[in-house]
Every structure is written in structure tokens, then in C-alpha cells.
Symmetry: D2
Subunit: 475 residues, 4 copies
């Protein structure tokens, strides 16, 4: 699935989180800003930064807004966000639910002062928990389930002496996927759900500790990778250093990292839980070459996310790798879509075939997914018009067949071509000369020993899930 299809079809990750704590008291807002840039691919709807000065008045200063990091923040706003402990967030745009109130991080005042929460993931029991809270008089001002987490932390904090223990007690009640970055007036806390569905890692630069959804954000800010936060682990950073609480952890063989991070969401230059994303995609491409060999002249990837798997296919098959497409990087989220009646199409405007490369060739075209099939069909048509003799499509993920309850925004069944059609039918519908989807059994080759979640392909959820889609429950 290429980048822009994500935007138009409403498939994507929920969020990216980032935290920075400078023990020496320096301002971290610029670091959070650059960190969010590196995580921008995880969410383009809204973003926010909240900072505290742990040595000073401990007041939280925050700014949030709809739009990209570049749109929401300017030099002046970074200037005003003074403080050595900062939390940032980028949020994904789900169709229709674009609301300023839902921008994160949440900044709340509670019994112990101020709490800042950035959350990536989805709770599966958010409705029940919210209902319970309402029955004790709670009020909610957003439609994001992160507010439920905030409430639980705030309530638990009344009974325990440390913020991280409040986080732990809250974790005992919430269920689902979450990577959290939390700041209280004096500490930064990171936590990951016991299944490890969402990634979170730790970095360090001089005396500044970093938490980030992906390691690429550490590189961007010049920090060294320290380690991943483990599934079920709570880490806290104070002026005394790191502390870890693993009491919520579950056995490694029950862990269930989202396999789609490796297939599509994460950046190729990130390494999540020890597995490099580039490597995983190369492996996926190789696996496709083993499962679906074909006689061809050139392997090409659909930019951006199909490129690496195409490289893997090429390496395994020995068929040369080529660059068949030019992607227009200026077409942003707000560009005016062509009307149906016009000869221009969104695909053409964003992607063009380099005739020179494909003319007279038998092509293997690798992409990461087929959602509705229209984009794929258009690209195949463009390739053939440019002179490709054959187009063999290889998809580096199995067909989506089951809803995700953990925060991946998969289109509804009706929109998914794989839901109503067999691969053979799809091949015909998109005009491909052959079509091969990643085999479910080969997914494990991508991530080695790591436990992963492939429920969207298999329906084998790592935990009990609601029977229906709850993502819009609070709208």
C-alpha cells in the first residue's frame, strides 16, 4: 500500500509518541519537535507537545492542533514551550473524526498536580470502562479512549505513593493495545501493554532520556538507542535515572507485536524489538519470491512502502531490481481530488511510470497490500500503457479478512476487495497476469522468534475482543 492510498482509504496507525527528559535542565521542546517529525508517518491529523520544567515552577505549557508538525508549530511556539521534560504526539486521521479536542497529548490536572499523557493504541474495553467511570460521575471532553486511561491513573494515584504505581494499577484495568508516554511534574514514565502490540523504545543523548515509538526518532535527534521498553514493562525516568517494573509482563510466547508495523507502518530505518524493519521487508520480498516465482525481466516496488520488499524479491529471484515510478512528493493531504469526469486521476497525479524502464519488459510489481483494488488496477494499467508486457503482482501481506481492535484503521469489510473475492478473482479484477499474497505461514520469517499478532489475517486475536467495531463508539 503506498503512502497516499492510506490517506484516501482511511487505513493506518493511530499514533506516534515521543518523550524527552533532560536531566541537566535544558529545553527539550526542539528535540520533541524533531522527534515528532521522524514519527510523522504514524499520524498526520493532529499533533501536540506539552512540556514541564521539573526544576522550576513545574507548570505545563502545551500546544496542540490539527495538521502536520510543520503546520502546528513555528519558531515562536517552540520558544514558548520552555521546560526540560516534554511529551509529544502525532495522531492519525480516522475518516470524519477529525476533531481539535482529540489532539494529544492530554494535559490534565489531578490530585497530584499535572499529568501529561500520550497514547498510541486502542483499548478493547474502553466502552465498559468509560461507562463505569460515568456511573461514578466522571465527565469526558474528548472521544479518545486515552481519557479513560487518564482517569484510571488519576484515581489509582489516590491510593499509591508513586505515579508509576498508579500507571501499573491502571494497566490492570485497561485491556488492549497501548504504548504510553506519561509525564508527571517530576518524572517521565513509559509503558507498553503486556502483549507488546505497540512499539516503544528508549534512547539517550548526553543526559537526556528519550522515549519514542520507533528508533528512527532517536536517530533524528542524535540520540543513541538504549533498548526497547519490554511488553508489559513500566519504565520511569527521574533525576535519579531509570527504574523498571516488569511485574505486568506475560510470557514471551504470548506476546503479540503488531506484524503490520513491520509490513507497513514503521519506517524502514527503524528497529523494533530487535528486528530491523528494512530486514523484515527484504525477508518478506524473499518469501514472496520463494512462494511465487515467475519468469520476468524486472522487479519493481510501488513507492514508498513496496520498494524494499521488491528489493528482497529481486535478491532472492535474481531478477533485476528497477525503479519504475516517479512519486510526486508535493501532493499533500489537502490537494483537490480530480472529479470522476476528468481525465486526470489521483493515481496519475501522484505516481508516474518511467516508460524507459518498463517498456518491453515482463514486470514483477510488489506492493504491501491491496485495499479496494482500484489503485492497484490503475497502476497496472499505467504500466501496460507504458509498454510492460506482463505485470505479476506480489503483495507482501496476506489478505485482510478480520477487523483490528487494537488501533489499526482497516477499512470496513465492504470496502476490502479481499473480503468478497478470491485472489484469482482479484487478479482478474486488477488486470494482473498473476497475483501472489504473502503466505500466513511465512510471516514468522520476518520477525524470527518474536511473538506477533496476525489477527487481521487469521482472526486469531491474542486476547478477547468485542464482537463489533468500537472505534467510533464515542463520536
Amino acid at each position: 500500500m503506498n503512502q497516499f492510498e492510506q490517506v484516501t482509504t482511511g487505513m493506518g496507525e493511530e499514533c506516534g509518541v515521543f518523550g524527552a527528559y533532560d536531566m541537566d535542565g535544558g529545553n527539550v521542546a526542539p528535540t520533541v519537535y524533531y522527534g515528532l517529525f521522524a514519527l510523522q508517518h504514524r499520524g498526520q491529523e493532529s499533533c501536540g507537545i506539552a512540556v514541564t520544567d521539573t526544576y522550576g515552577e513545574r507548570k505545563v505549557r502545551s500546544k496542540k492542533g490539527l495538521g502536520l508538525v510543520n503546520d502546528v508549530f513555528d519558531g515562536e511556539s517552540l520558544e514558548e514551550l520552555k521546560g526540560n521534560l516534554g511529551v509529544g504526539h502525532v495522531r492519525y486521521s480516522t475518516a470524519g473524526g477529525s476533531r481539535a479536542e482529540n489532539a494529544m497529548p492530554l494535559v490534565i490536572n489531578y490530585v497530584k498536580g499535572t499529568l501529561v499523557i500520550a497514547h498510541n493504541g486502542n483499548l478493547t474495553n474502553a466502552i465498559e470502562l468509560r461507562r463505569e467511570l460515568e456511573y461514578t460521575g466522571a465527565i469526558f471532553q474528548t472521544t479518545i479512549d486515552s481519557e479513560v486511561i487518564a482517569y484510571h491513573i488519576a484515581r489509582e494515584r489516590l491510593n499509591v505513593g508513586k505515579a508509576e504505581d498508579a500507571v501499573k494499577n491502571a494497566m490492570k484495568k485497561i485491556r488492549g493495545a497501548y504504548a504510553l508516554v506519561v509525564s508527571s511534574p517530576r518524572k517521565m514514565i513509559g509503558a507498553r501493554d503486556p502483549f507488546g502490540l505497540k512499539p516503544l523504545c528508549i534512547g539517550k543523548r548526553d543526559n537526556t532520556y528519550i522515549l519514542a515509538s520507533e528508533s528512527c526518532a532517536l536517530s533524528a535527534v542524535g540520540a543513541d538507542f538504549v533498548r526497547d521498553v519490554e511488553p508489559g514493562e513500566i519504565v520511569s525516568f527521574t533525576k535519579n535515572g531509570i527504574e523498571s517494573d516488569r511485574s505486568m509482563a506475560i510470557p514471551a510466547d504470548k506476546q503479540a507485536r503488531c506484524i503490520f508495523e513491520y509490513i507497513y507502518f514503521a519506517r524502514t530505518d527503524s528497529t523494533l524489538d530487535g528486528v530491523n524493519v528494512y530486514h523484515a521487508r527484504i525477508t518478506a520480498g524473499r518469501a514472496l519470491a520463494k512462494s511465487y516465482p515467475v519468469e520476468a525481466d524486472l522487479v519493481v516496488g510501488v513507492p514508498d512502502s513496496g520498494l524494499v520488499a521488491a528489493k528482497g524479491y529481486s535478491e532472492e529471484s535474481g531478477i533485476p531490481y528497477g525503479m519504475a515510478f516517479h512519486k510526486n512528493s508535493y501532493v499533500g493531504r489537502t490537494f483537490i481530488k480530480p472529479s470522476q469526469s476528468e481525465r486526470e486521476s489521483s493515481v496519475k497525479i501522484k505516481l508516474n511510470v518511467i516508460e524507459e524502464v518498463v517498456r518491453g519488459k515482463r514486470i514483477v510489481m510488489v506492493d504491501d497490500s491491496i485495499v479496494r483494488g482500484t489503485t492497484c488496477a490503475n497502476i497496472i494499467k499505467m504500466l501496460k500503457k507504458a509498454g510492460a508486457l506482463e505485470v505479476h503482482v506480489r503483495i507482501s501481506s496476506p489478505p485482510f479478512l478480520y477487523p483490528c481492535y487494537f488501533g489499526t484503521d482497516v477499512p470496513s469489510n465492504e470496502q476490502l476487495i479481499a473480503h468478497a473475492h478470491t485472489p484469482k478473482e482479484i487478479q482478474k479484477m486488477i488486470g494482473a497476469d498473476s497475483l501472489g499474497y504473502m503466505e500466513i505461514d511465512r510471516l514468522k520469517e520476518m520477525v524470527g522468534d518474536l511473538g506477533y499478532c496476525d489477527a487481521c489475517f487469521t482472526g486469531n486475536y491474542p486476547m478477547e475482543v468485542p464482537g463489533r467495531d468500537v472505534s467510533q463508539a464515542f463520536e
Copy 2:
């Protein structure tokens, strides 16, 4: 005190509230929009509108933002705010506390669905209440005390069958000044604190019921004035009509309307609790003429708020009324202030003297207050430069000497010229030939039998108040 001084000195009212409920199901957003225009003088920092469709899905749609009504709303946003029950709010800008999160109305989800709250006024026990709530696990996302009211209504709603009873029970706990417009999925509720510190009135246009801080907003939307909400009264509007609950009312002689509404805040075309504001100001001017007669040729008022009292002075004294000033209405809140080193001054840019009118005359100049004294001194200087022979200053309010805990943003003592100086000293400092402040005993002439609060002049608060300024407590 003229309009623009308000902006620079940080003195002003907290808010204006407006509600509209169309029993016939028509869209009310335009009506709320025009109503807020009429109340814009009560708050220019931020504004918001939230609407519900009581016949449809009962979903709340809202839009809030920093800026004037005209800045925040456009045709498109009004178009999207579909619904027949709407609540609007304009908020005053207190120095430094300009935060998007604090814009109202509050839209909260709670056990019974959605609640919209617009609040004008200040609670005196907000800190205690918030603290209490926090000790039960509550979280706060703004720094406005309206969130405390929202919590109390939400909690009380668990125990009672009707939203208006939840409002009543909340009123038993909160203390201070408030005029509330609340909407639940099926009804609109209005409430006023038992002292009646803040105004609220009811209007009707066809089958649409209106609630508004001032009657001028009824005129603006073509509605007829029905009556004022009484101090301590709760009115609720459903498809069955109006219901009233007066069980929280206190004896009329304990009521304490803010006298400053009549002196300065309210529009001259409003009538509050039966007293017309224009009439009250004419009366104030007459009172000044009785207390401080002087031989002069012309009475002039400082635009806009001194004009009517000047008319009253003229009528009582027989000295002709004149228009001495041109006020530039294009100078908005964001205009660039002249630097000290320049020859231009803010006063000159906003106000100019019409020489023709004042040359060779002995002038009585009426204004509603003196805050720091600089503006007044500048105006006197301009009058004398234009040829005025004498300038006798008459102020239609007594000197401010005590803080207001009910939502009027009086500058701190250090900034108030009256705090450290006698009227005689002030007269000299501003260069006036004589100076007369409204006598405290005469204030009652303005409002007749109505109980009023004059604590900012006398220190006689109608209820127990905190010993210190709490207006920024949550920042």
C-alpha cells in the same frame, strides 16, 4: 472607562451566555451567532457554539476558538452546526490566560449522554470544590471553574431523575456568581445564582425560546423579551414548554446584582431585572450633577461608556451636551501599540478631540471610571490643547478599593490610582480643574429597589469571600 482602556488594563466582565431552543426543530446556529454578536462586548477573547438536534441523533456539534465571533465563525462552520438546541458563549480575555482550552461552552459526555455548559461568573469556592473532586479521582482539562460546575452536575445526575434537579443539587454546593445556560440532549436549562450577581433573561420568537445575558441580544435576533430569570431560579425548556424551580431563591433584600453591569458592562439598550441601563446611566449623570455642580459651558462624555452619563449630567444641570470626541472604530484588539519613544499615543490614535466643539469652553467631562489615570490625563491634555478653558471631571462610579471575587476583572491594587491617592491628589495628577466621583450613597438611585452588590467600592461582600485573589488559581 472607555472601551479600549478595558483592553489594555485588563478590567472587564468574564463572559456572555446565550441559548436558543427551537421547538419546531429549525436550525438555531445562526440565531446563536447573531446573539453572540450582541453580547460580544462582554468578552472578546474566545467564543463558541455547541448545538444538538433534539429530534435527531442528539449528537453535539461544536466549534470554539480564540477571537471575536466574526473571526471564529464563517458561513461554512454555521452550516455544519446543525441542530435546534444551541448554546453560545463569549469569553473575556484575562491577562496572560488566553488559552484555547478554556474556550466555552464546555461540551462533556457523562452518564446521561452529553451536556453543554456556558457559564458567566466566578465561583468563590472553586478551589475547595476542585480539590474535593480531585480527591475522588477527578481530572481537569481546563483552568476555568466551569469545569467544577460540570462535574457537580454530572455527579448529581446519578442520583436524580432530571437534569434540572442535578443543576439544583450542584447549586447547593457551588458558591459565588453564575449565570448558566445548559443543554442536555432534550432540554435547555438556565440558572442564576441566588444573589443574582450575573444577569440572565428569557426571550421568545415564534416557537424558539432564548436565554441571554442581556436583553439586547433578544432584540438582535428579533425575539420578544419574556422575563428575567430570577436570582436563584432554575428554568428549563422542553418540548412541553417552560418549567421553573425557585427553591434556591433567597429573600429579595439579600439579592446582590453587580452594580457595575449598570455603570459599565451592559449595553445601554439592555434592560436587566427591570432596570434599563440607559436610564440607570442617565440617573448616574444626574446624581453627579447634584453632588458636584459646576459652572461650565458644555458637558461631554468619553466614548463610548461615558456618553449617557454625560447626557444625564447635562439634563440635570442645564449645561448643554456636546460631542467633543471622534472615536476611531477601526482600531481593534490586535493593533500595534505605539512605542513610548514615538509621538503617537494609543489615546490619540483611538480618540480625537473636535476642536470646533471645545475651543474656548469650560468643559465637564464625564467618564465611568479612572483606572490608572494615564488615559484620563491624556484626554484632558488633548482637550486643553484644543482650547478648552477648564476641564471638570465627573466619574459615574465611586473609586475601586476592593477586589471583586465574582468575575469582574479589576486591576490589582498597585495599578489602581484610587488605591494610593485621594481624589484631590488624583485631580492634580490628571490635570483636571475639579474631580467628582459618584457618591456611594447615590448608587441606589440608579437601580431603585433592586438589591445590588457594591463590594468593589465598599468591601461589603454579599457572601463570605476568600481572603485573596483566586482568579488565576488554576493556571
Copy 3:
């Protein structure tokens, strides 16, 4: 005619011009900015400032844009406009012709460097001149006739040694109304058409010379009034002081100042060609009282422009003057107009009657003009609804019957109620109890000995005019 009607009906002045030249080399951009504020009433469509540093590199820096002075300029842009010679302009919005390209001042490069031109007025031979220029290869980038003036100055400059002589030679060719502020790299030049149709005056503050359309702009920037530029005069300001060239002047009895400046356009605190605007309007009101006496209880003016004439009527008639209206100053140009189907009306939103003042009274209502009659009818209806017993309308100008070719944007005949109806008919249509228009013969009372143009009332144009409306000729 009240302020807002101007906006909706497209009647108004074309422009305001302002220049400042600091002989000591100080930055004048802030002065020009404040000067334009004071002239904002003369044009709200667009504005611009261009500055040069006469002692430095003599490069012109400029900024122009659609909107009010406050919208187009901020602190940063003033900061960048460094230079001690500045020219500013505010432009009126003619219906439909709102184009960014037409914003002034014009900044042109020509044989002698850079020329900045700000122009108020309309040429009557612009079409012929433009055509002539085109036949010599000229190109035009705007639809304003000021570009024609620029061309002529540029061409004449080839033949003469001084910029002011080029201006003079250009004046020999152009015909119509103009007040010009021009800056060349080393001097500021002001010029006025021989008839003096448009005003222009000179001020001084320390070593800074000022040119402004109205004297109120001098007061705003703390400058002293020096004198008016005379009709047909060219004044030039260099580091050596002022020089004057009166060789284009015509006899005083042929001069023809726009009488509408005194009736409506100019600010009441301005004095134009020795006649104070406030005084002129008082005189107009007195004249109305003499021509159309009536037995009544109160004289009221329609804000803002009817107020002073109402005062004059009151003074002459002895009938008390009252404030019957509250005008909402927050309703800007961009506010969303109520739809016809709604109960709110633009008039109600902008203007409200103070019942207390008018109830049970026989009212004389003074306004400066009746354009289409709808606004006037609405106001009378509001007065009567508020309890006025009678409403006698007095208009401080005669009926418009002829088009203006000199830059006043009078609506077309079809829209003008006076065009198709007698005063008697109009009285009935607007629901007035009597109606009196200013008598043409009495206009001279307003301006004393000054020659004035009353062609829009009489058809007696001071010069030959085109037979048709040419204001949109270049669109």
C-alpha cells in the same frame, strides 16, 4: 447614511492617501500605519505602505494587501519597512472589483529610479489616455486609472529635470479628480486637481512632513496642521524644505470641492480647506430645521454619520437631542448576512433602539442620505415598535439624481429610491410621518465661500464628463 449601509450598497469614497518624510532620517512606517488608521473610513478594501530610505540605498520596500490596516500589517511587517520617506493608501471596495493587484500605492520603476504613487479620485479621461498609451506600446497590470497617471509622469520625466515638473506636465493631460502623494528616491510630492475635488493637507511634527487626505490623520500622529494643499497646487518636500508650484491653479470661483466630503465622507474631527466638518454638519442640521420645522419631542441621529446633523437640528429647533440607538461596533465587513427567511435582519444586528429614550415621543430622525430606502424603513419600524409616536425624517443631503464621475461610488439609478420616486412617495414607502431633504440652495451654508461640486444633486458638473459610467471600464 450609516456606516454599514455603505458596505452593503457599494456607496463610498475611493481612497485615502498619506505620506510622511522624516528629514532626520527616522523610520516613518509606524507613522504611516497610524495615519492610515485615521483614514480607514475612506477605504476598507485594501491598503498598502511603501517606504524609501532617502539617505541609504534608496530601495523601495512595500507591502500591500486586501483588508483593513490591522489585517494587512503586523509588527513584523512594519519592522521590515525601513525608510524615512513613506507613502500609504487605503482603498475603497467597489462591488466585485476586489482585486489584490489594484491595491495601492503603485510602486514603479522608471527611467529615474523608483516612483511611488498613491491616488485618491477618478480621472474622467482615463479611457482615452489609456488607449493612447496602448497605441504607443504601453502595458497595464491593474484596472485602476492611477496606472495611467504613473505612465504620464514617467514619460514626462524624460523631458524635464525635476519629478515635480513631470507631475505638472502629467496634470496637463489628465482630467478629473485627484489628490496625489508621490515619492521619488529623494523627495515627497503632493498634488491636487485644479478643482480641488479631493482634499489634501500638510502637517509637520518635528522634522517630519506629512501629507494626508484629512487633518484627522495629522492629529492621530501628533503632527500640527500646516495648511491645505491648494487646488491645482503641487508641493514638493526635499531635504531643503517645501516648494510650491501653483501654476496649474484656476480661479477660486471655479473650484469645486466635493460637497459630500462634508456631508458624509470625512471624519467630523477633520477640517478641510478651512471648513470644519463638524461645523458643516451642525450647519446642515440647522438648515434642515429652518427648512422643515416640526413639532416634536426629540431629535435623534442615525449613527454614526447622522449624529452631528441631528445635534444641529436640535440646536436650531430647540427640541432636545437624544441618543436613540446603540450601534454594535463588532459587526465587521465579513459578518455573515442573515438570510431572508430568518427573523434576524442586518439592521437589527447592527443597530438597536433604546426604548427608554423614544417611548411615547414624537421623533425627528436625522440621517445623511437615503439610498435604497430599506434600511431607513427598517429603522423607522424599529422606532415605532419601541413606542415612538411619530417619526419625522430629515436628510442632510439633497436626493442623488446624477452619477458622480470623480470617484464617489453612488449606486446605479435603479437602486436609488430617489431616482424613481418623489419625496412624498418615499416618505410613504419608508413609513415616515414627514420627510425633508436638504435644499440644494442651502448647501452653500455648510462651506461658506468655498467653491464646491454638487453635481450628484444638480447635474452641474464642473468640467466636461463622459456620458456614461466608466468606473468599471478596465475590469
Copy 4:
């Protein structure tokens, strides 16, 4: 040279031009909009579209502004740009010269109505021509030399019967580089300078003719490539079809296409004058491999423009091609640059190395140019930190040594590392293990028989040029 370095160092192309003429009368604004998207890489400072309705009132409607196509245009503005003949332009940002007035296309009124001009390129005799024009009274309102072209066309039009003949006569006077798209009320005209320095091609979609700087813009709008406009050719499109005038052409062996179009400016999916850009870059990479072979494990390209040449190097050398970098596509032009004191760097934020790919490898790194050397040095440092054993740099262009007078914005000599240093010195300064620049003699391999200009490398200009940089002459 990678994309973002262009922005910070001020090197780049001047413009992209686009025209569309729908013979059937359909609206072309959306087509122009999508065409400009495809040409956005040629200019990001400002853009504009001007349309005419050749069948209707023939009025030009235009919109221009600073920013990307996506920023300047929205649905509403495209809606208003009604017309079947449209001209569009994207403009490059030269340092400091970002002025709204300079946005194109120019829309001028002249003797024959309206003329719209979009221009890519630079005239070498603009100063003389402008001076000459000024001496005949011309005025200039921009600092772009396109205004000079406009004047000449306008003047010539007086003597000839057809607009295209006026263009031809103007071409006889102007000298330098230009690709023009011109529209008069009834026709679209394209022209290219006799040397063919700037590209221009013709496309067709149904009955719509297209002119575009690059063929990629034809693909984007679904048009078929017809042919290139030839150097010195004037093509005109009327309702009767295409006409061509080649009388200004010069012998093919004197033609001088800008070689840098093939090296860097143009999109890889474009074909200019019969040479495919992708092919040219592959050839450049192959040439580098022949000139500078090296023993290595991996060839990588610096995104985006080094990627294809790297592929060519890989193909020729047999060393595997790899993807070593992730480029962050969200970092736009306005992002806040890190301060020197911070650990983040612009390079790191925009580009990250994929360790997995480079660890333990000897790398050949291909880029298209070295400007100041800092970026290149940083990237090499990143590669080595990621574990690269050796980094051999290959640059697909010779060193810049001479200024370009034809519109390519090469930094001044002081900033160019190649100006003061030998390749050997540069290799050491950037920390490379070896360094090879494209050999001048091999450039011809890229473009085959086509005549090209390599003056920036050799100083052999195809025509007489001014002795000094004149690009800012009119600022």
C-alpha cells in the same frame, strides 16, 4: 544534490510553465492545477494560474500567490477560474527575492486586449532592454525580466496583424534563455529560445492542447505527448489547430540545451527533446563507473536525485545496488532549522541511514553535485557511524566553475567548494575514501546527438554573456 539542499543553498531552476487550451470550451483550470503539481519541483516560491474564456467575454481571471500549488489554490479558487484557455506558472525562490509582485503568469492589458505570459528562463540583455524601454517612458512593476518580454510583445503587436508575429519580433530583440507560454484572447502561443536552453513540449488530450516544461506534466493530466517545441520555434494554437513558425531557428549544431536539466532539474519520468531523463542519468552513472571504477560491496544514491545515477553505476560495475537512506518527506520548506548548539542537524532530520544495509560494507555513494560540501560530509559521517567501511563518492556532474546567465541559480563562487579546492582537497574535506566527478567529455554520452550547454562547467557560453551576475539587477 538532494532536494532539500537546494532549498538551503539557493541553487535551482527558475520556473515551470504550463498551458492548456480546450477547443471544446471546457474549463481548463483543474488541468492547469494538476499540471503545475507535476512541475512543482521546478519552483516552489510562488505560483499562479490565469484563464480566459475564448468563447465568452474573453475576460482574464487569475490568481497568484507565494507558496506551493497546494497552498495557493483551493477548490473555491479553481471554481472561480472559469475559462477554456489557461496558463500556469511555478516560480523558484531565489534567496531574498521572494516578492508577491513577481509571481507569474503576468497578466497585462495592452492595445489588443489582454495578454498572459508565463516565462521560464533568463534574458542576458534584460538590463539594456529595460533601460531602452524606460527611455521611451515605460514603467515596471516587478523585478522579473518577463515584464521586458511583455513590453516588447505589446509594442510589436502595434505593427503586426497576429500575436505570434509580435512574439517573433520580440524574440528578435531579446537574448538569452526562455520557454514561453502566452495566451491572447483567442489563442495559446508557445515559444522557445533558438538555443533551446529551456525545455517545452506539446501534448494533447481529446480536443485540449497542452504546453508544458516537461513531459511528466502531460502524463499527470492524462495527455499524450505530441512533440517538443523546437528551439527557436513558435507554435500557436487556435480553434483551427496548430500553426508553427520556425523562422527563428538556428542550425542544430548551435543548439545548446541546458545539460543540468538532465543531471538534476527535470523529473526522471520526463523526456526532453527525445532524451529520457532516467536514461540520461543511468548513462551518467555508467560513465562514472567507467571513469572511476572501485572495488566495493554496494552502490547507493543520495535521495532523490542521486538514486538513478547510482543505479547506472551499479549496472555498469556489477556492484549491487542498495537503499541506504530513508528520506523524511514531511520536512517541508518552512521547517524550523536546528540551531548549531543542538545535537540535531538538518541532515539527520531529513535523511537517515539504514544501518542494516551499510554495516560492514564498502560503499559507492552517488550524488548529482557537491555545493558547499557540508551536507556531503555529514552524510559520509552518518554512513561511517552506521558501519560503512569505506565511502567512495561519485558525482554525476563536473564541478561548477562558471556562473550561469540563463536562469540556473548557482551559488556564488565563495560558497562553491569546487571553486577554491581541487577534487583531491575536497575528498579529504568531506571525509571520502575516493572522489570522482563526471568528466566533461562524457557529458555528451547522456544526451547523444543533441547540442547542449555545459558553460557552468567549461565557461563556453553559447552566446555572448554579460561579464557579471545580473540576476538581482532589478531588485
